[in-house]
Symmetry: C2
Subunit: 205 residues, 2 copies
């Protein structure tokens, strides 16, 4: 599809057609494409838990304010951020891959490792905020890539974080941000208004 | 452009052609299109400060780790989140616009106001994290919309927050997230690696 058509036809969809299945390969391709999104120091901080099984979706629905999208979607992506991404070990592993494929020199690899060690010596609150920025970036591209392939989504932050963590044994170093139900719309998403651009932009000159 | 071409050709660009100007109307159109991005309870929490003036870009460069993108871009968008977006007054103002244009009923407007008052009775830390998610979502769409129109961008979190706030007299209720230089690439963005999708996805079944 044309970019403009993807952006302007994407809507938050909350009522999905039952019995739609998304082939695993296709969902993986959507996530892979979403991962072209820029991310903080290329630390690839995102983690994706995929829920497709009926009983698991129903359990998640109960701790997500019983929002029908969670039960009705073909899959629900639980988007997480990994606090341990801010380590030299993680940066080094990713850089090693770039060096191996010839898109990064050893010198740059070393420079990044040094950067990570001082730049990310910050509070957990700061790290969590950066994880949220990374999650927002990848989530937007994921939703557009889904739309481009004929699937609909909705980004939700309305869920009981602790209950969701307990339900899926989410480890302490993984931080919850959004959950994204994905499927095909049964009821189209409704048109939403926005503030006028002039209300949110300040031109400094 | 085709969606796939936009996603796959967008790169983080750090070296911009000098003397490129982006017409104000075009930059506003890019931001307006970016604002189609979903956002938490449609509270339109984003604010955009636009820096185009040479001396202001140079001052911002000094407090952004002297990253050349800040000085060389045609414009730098300072992306902020408004903590006061989580108020009934703000929700009501946006909903009133939807009611006026016939895309929302008075009943739904009232329901949203009630939701906002209890759903957003949370800590400032939680609100800041939601503001970051909103910023990530809109930033991604902004960067893709810019690319679709022939412009390049880079999302940066490496700046001295307090110094930037002081420089532009940013009010206390506005929270810094990303800054986004925008212009036309002089040096193409380099190809980056990502972890394999199988390393970041866990399939729960």
């Amino acid at each position: 599809m044309m970019y403009q058509d993807v952006v302007r036809s994407r809507r938050s969809v909350r009522d999905f057609m039952p019995d739609v299945e998304i082939p695993k390969e296709e969902l993986m391709a959507i996530i892979e494409e979403a991962m072209f999104a820029p991310n903080s120091t290329n630390l690839n901080s995102w983690r994706f838990l995929i829920v497709t099984e009926k009983e698991q979706k129903e359990a998640l629905y109960e701790v997500s304010m019983q929002q029908p999208a969670v039960k009705g979607a073909a899959a629900v992506i639980i988007l997480l951020g990994d606090l341990t991404a801010y380590t030299v070990a993680n940066a080094d592993e990713i850089s090693a891959k770039a060096v191996a494929q010839g898109t990064m020199t050893e010198e740059i690899r070393q420079g990044i490792n040094e950067n990570v060690s001082w730049y990310y010596d910050v509070s957990e609150e700061q790290k969590r905020e950066w994880l949220m920025l990374d999650q927002g970036l990848v989530a937007m591209q994921l939703m557009l890539s889904a739309k481009d392939r004929g699937y609909d989504t909705v980004a939700m932050s309305g869920f009981e974080t602790e209950a969701v963590r307990k339900l899926f044994n989410i480890e302490d170093h993984l931080v919850n941000g959004l959950i994204i139900p994905i499927g095909k719309a049964q009821t189209p998403g409704f048109e939403t208004v926005r503030r006028d651009v002039s209300e949110v932009v300040t031109w400094l000159d």
